[in-house]
C-alpha cells in the first residue's frame, strides 16, 4: 500500500461539459515521499493550479485516485466526506502572498489552526511558538502581520502551514514576491521542515532562481505530468 506522502494515479479534471469542456488534467501520476520537496512547473494554462486545487480538496477531480499521508481522499466516484477537517488536519497551504489574517497577531495567526481543531488556546499558542522559533520569527510573536517585513510574513505563513504537522504541504508560488536571497531562504526552510516533520511538499513555481534547487521536478504539459530529474543544488 501507499505508506505516507502523496500518491496520485490517473488524475483527471474536466471543467464544464460538452463542446466547451476544458480538459485541464488528462491523467496525472505523481509520487512524493515524506520529507521530499518537489517542484511543479509548466507553462501557463497547463493545469498546475488545477492540480493543487484537487490536492487541496477544494475542487473535485473528474476521475483518478489521490492518497494523502495514509488516507485515500479520492477514488473515482468516492471521496472523503469532511473535506473541511481534511484540509485542516492533513494539508498545509502556503500561498504566493502570505494571506495572514490582519486582525490576529503573529502567534494567533499560526495558533488559529490548532484552535479550529479544538485544541485549547494555550496549547495551540505553545505549538505556534514552537514553529515560530523553528522559523526564527519568535521575536515577532506578538506583532501584527502589517508590522512584519515581507520575508517575515512569508515565514509566519509557512509556520501556519506546518503547525498541525500535516503530512502534505501545498505551496503555490511561495517565492514569487521575494528577492533571490529571501527566495532561497524560504526554499531552505521548506527543505528543513520537510526533513524535520516528514512532510511531503509540492512547490508550484515559475521562479527560475529556485528551480535548480529541486532534486525532482514534475513538468506539466497539456494536463499530463512528466517527471524530470532536477539539479538539487544547495541541498544535499
Amino acid at each position: 500500500m501507499s505508506g505516507k506522502g502523496i500518491h496520485i494515479e490517473g488524475l483527471k479534471k474536466r471543467y464544464g461539459e460538452g463542446d466547451t469542456a476544458v480538459h485541464a488534467l488528462r491523467g496525472v501520476d505523481m509520487q512524493i515521499a515524506p520529507g521530499e520537496v518537489v517542484g511543479l512547473i509548466g507553462p501557463s494554462g497547463s493545469g498546475k493550479s488545477t492540480l493543487l486545487k484537487c490536492l487541496g480538496a477544494v475542487i473535485d477531480p473528474t476521475a483518478g485516485r489521490m492518497v494523502l499521508g495514509d488516507e485515500v481522499i479520492f477514488d473515482n466516484d468516492w471521496k472523503v466526506r469532511d473535506l473541511r477537517a481534511l484540509r485542516r488536519d492533513k494539508i498545509g497551504f502556503v500561498f504566493q502572498a502570505p494571506y495572514l489574517i490582519p486582525f490576529l497577531d503573529v502567534t494567533d495567526n499560526v495558533a488559529l489552526l490548532p484552535m479550529l481543531a479544538g485544541i485549547p488556546n494555550s496549547n495551540a499558542r505553545a505549538k505556534a511558538l514552537e514553529l515560530l522559533t523553528a522559523l526564527d520569527v519568535q521575536h515577532r510573536a506578538r506583532a501584527m502581520p502589517s508590522q512584519l517585513s515581507g520575508g517575515e510574513q512569508q515565514r509566519v505563513a509557512i509556520a501556519r502551514g506546518l503547525v498541525n504537522r500535516p503530512p502534505v504541504i501545498l505551496a503555490d508560488e511561495p517565492t514569487a514576491p521575494l528577492d533571490s536571497e529571501r527566495a532561497m531562504a524560504v526554499i531552505r526552510i521548506l527543505n528543513d521542515m520537510a526533513r524535520q516533520f516528514e512532510t511531503a511538499i509540492i512547490v508550484v513555481t515559475h521562479d527560475e532562481k529556485i528551480i535548480p534547487t529541486f532534486k525532482r521536478i514534475y513538468h506539466i504539459r497539456d494536463g499530463v505530468a512528466h517527471e524530470e530529474v532536477g539539479e538539487g543544488r544547495g541541498f544535499e
Binding site: 493550479s49 473541511r84 484540509r87 485542516r88 488559529l112 489552526l113 501584527m144
Partner: protein, 400 residues
C-alpha cells in the same frame, strides 16, 4: 478558540466606533421619538390626574371638555353635590388662550376654577411656590413652564391678573402650560366682547321693539346685562366619597340629569383615541421608518466590512474554518455595532431630551425593548453579508 469578531473589532476599532456613533445618533433619535410619544400620553394622564376628579359631567351627546366643546349651566353642580356618593363637585372651564406676559404672548390653557382650599377639584394639587387662589377675581396660578414669575401681572383678554402661585407638570394634553384663574373671571373672559361689539349689540337691542318697550323701562337694561354675563361652564368635576364605584354613580347621574358622564378610564380613552391618536400614529410610522433606515445602514456597513475581508474569509475556509464560525463572526460584529449604537443612542437621548420644548419621557422598559429591537435588526441586517461570505469559494485562496 478565540473570538474572531472581537479581534477584528479591536483591530479596526476606529471604523466600528465611528459607524457605531453614527448609528447611535439614529438610535438616539428613535428613542427620543418613543419618548415624545410617552410624554404625550403622560401629559394627558397628568392633566386628568391634576383635576382630582373621579367623574366628568359634560353636555349631553358630547365628548367634552377636552375632545370637543361642552357647555353646562353653572348652577348644575349644586344638584350633583346633593347626590349621596358625591363628596365634591366643582365647575371648570377650559380655554386655549394667548396670555400676555411682558411684551409677549404665551399659548396657554386657561382653566377657570372655583376658589377654595388646596385639593379642590380643578385647582392644582400642589404648588412649588406661592399660594392657591383664594379671591374670586384677578388672581392666577401658572405652570412654571409658562415662564411667569410669582407676583407678575399677566394679561388675559382685557384684564390683568396677579400670579400668586406656581405649579409644576400642570400642562394640557398638548403640552401647553395651564394658567388657573377664578371661575367667574374665566367665564367673563370666554365671552368678553370688545367695546365696539358691545356698543353694536346695545344699539341692536335698543332698536328691537320686543326689548325696548315703553311700558317696561327696565327691560332693556336687564336684557343688556344678561347678554354680557355668561352662566356656562365646560364641565363639572366630581369627586366621589371613598369606596364608591365610579361607574355606578355615573349611571345614576346619567339617569337623573340626562347629562353625559365619563369616568376616569373613559376620559383617558377619549384622550388617547380622539385627541392624541393621530400624533401617536405619526410617531409610530416614524419609528418604523427609522428602524428600516437603521437596518439598511447596518446591513450596508457590515456588507462593506465583509467585502473587504473576502480574501481572509477564503483563507479561513481553506484552512478549515467552519461556515458556522464565519457566519458567527459576521453576526457578532453586527451585534457589537448595535450595542455600541445603542449605548451611544441611549446616552445622547438622555442628554438632549431636557432641551425639547415638550415633555419627553424615556421609559426604561422602552429602552429595554429598543435594545432588543436593535439586536434583532442588526442580526437581520447581517444576513446579507453572511450570505455573501458563505458563497466565498475556498479555492479562490489558491491563485489562478
Amino acid at each position: 478558540m478565540i473570538s474572531l469578531a472581537g479581534r477584528d473589532i479591536l483591530h479596526s476599532w476606529g471604523k466600528f466606533v465611528f459607524t457605531g456613533v453614527g448609528l447611535g445618533l439614529l438610535i438616539g433619535v428613535t428613542l427620543s421619538m418613543a419618548g415624545i410619544y410617552r410624554g404625550m400620553v403622560d401629559d394627558a394622564q397628568v392633566m386628568l390626574d391634576n383635576t382630582g376628579a373621579d367623574l366628568w359631567v359634560v353636555q349631553q351627546g358630547t365628548q367634552g371638555p377636552y375632545a370637543e366643546s361642552s357647555s353646562l349651566y353653572d348652577d348644575l353642580y349644586r344638584s350633583l353635590l346633593n347626590m349621596p356618593d358625591v363628596e365634591y363637585a366643582a365647575n371648570v372651564t377650559y380655554l386655549i388662550m394667548q396670555v400676555g406676559h411682558g411684551g409677549q404672548d404665551v399659548s396657554a390653557m386657561v382653566v377657570g376654577v372655583t376658589a377654595g382650599k388646596p385639593g379642590t377639584p380643578g385647582q392644582p394639587r400642589y404648588l412649588v411656590a406661592g399660594r392657591h387662589i383664594t379671591r374670586s377675581h384677578y388672581e392666577a396660578i401658572a405652570d412654571i413652564s409658562s415662564g411667569f414669575q410669582l407676583g407678575e401681572r399677566i394679561r388675559i383678554r382685557r384684564n390683568f391678573y396677579t400670579v400668586v402661585g406656581l405649579s409644576k407638570r400642570t400642562v394640557s394634553y398638548n403640552g401647553d402650560p395651564m394658567v388657573f384663574i377664578p371661575l367667574k373671571d374665566a367665564q367673563e373672559a370666554q365671552f368678553l366682547k370688545d367695546n365696539d361689539a358691545l356698543v353694536q349689540q346695545r344699539r341692536r337691542n335698543a332698536e328691537n321693539p320686543d326689548f325696548n318697550r315703553s311700558g317696561i323701562p327696565d327691560l332693556l337694561a336687564v336684557v343688556n346685562a344678561s347678554q354680557s354675563t355668561n352662566t356656562a361652564v365646560n364641565a363639572v368635576l366630581v369627586k366621589l366619597k371613598p369606596g364608591t364605584l365610579p361607574e355606578d354613580v355615573a349611571e345614576t347621574i346619567r339617569r337623573w340629569t340626562r347629562l353625559q358622564v365619563y369616568t376616569r378610564a373613559q376620559m383617558e380613552s377619549i384622550l388617547m383615541d380622539k385627541v392624541i391618536d393621530k400624533s401617536a400614529r405619526q410617531i409610530a410610522l416614524f419609528l418604523v421608518i427609522l428602524s428600516i433606515v437603521s437596518a439598511a445602514i447596518v446591513a450596508f456597513i457590515i456588507y462593506t466590512l465583509t467585502l473587504g475581508k473576502i480574501r481572509e474569509i477564503a483563507v479561513l475556509k481553506l484552512i478549515g474554518t467552519k461556515n458556522r464560525t464565519i457566519a458567527g463572526m459576521i453576526m457578532q460584529q453586527s451585534l457589537a455595532l448595535g450595542v455600541i449604537g445603542f449605548v451611544v443612542g441611549k446616552i445622547t437621548a438622555t442628554f438632549w431630551v431636557p432641551i425639547f420644548p415638550k415633555y419627553v419621557l424615556l421609559m426604561p422598559l422602552d429602552s429595554i425593548a429598543g435594545f432588543f429591537a436593535v439586536l434583532a435588526i442588526c442580526a437581520l441586517a447581517s444576513l446579507v453579508a453572511i450570505r455573501m461570505a458563505l458563497k466565498v469559494d475556498p479555492a479562490d485562496a489558491i491563485g489562478g
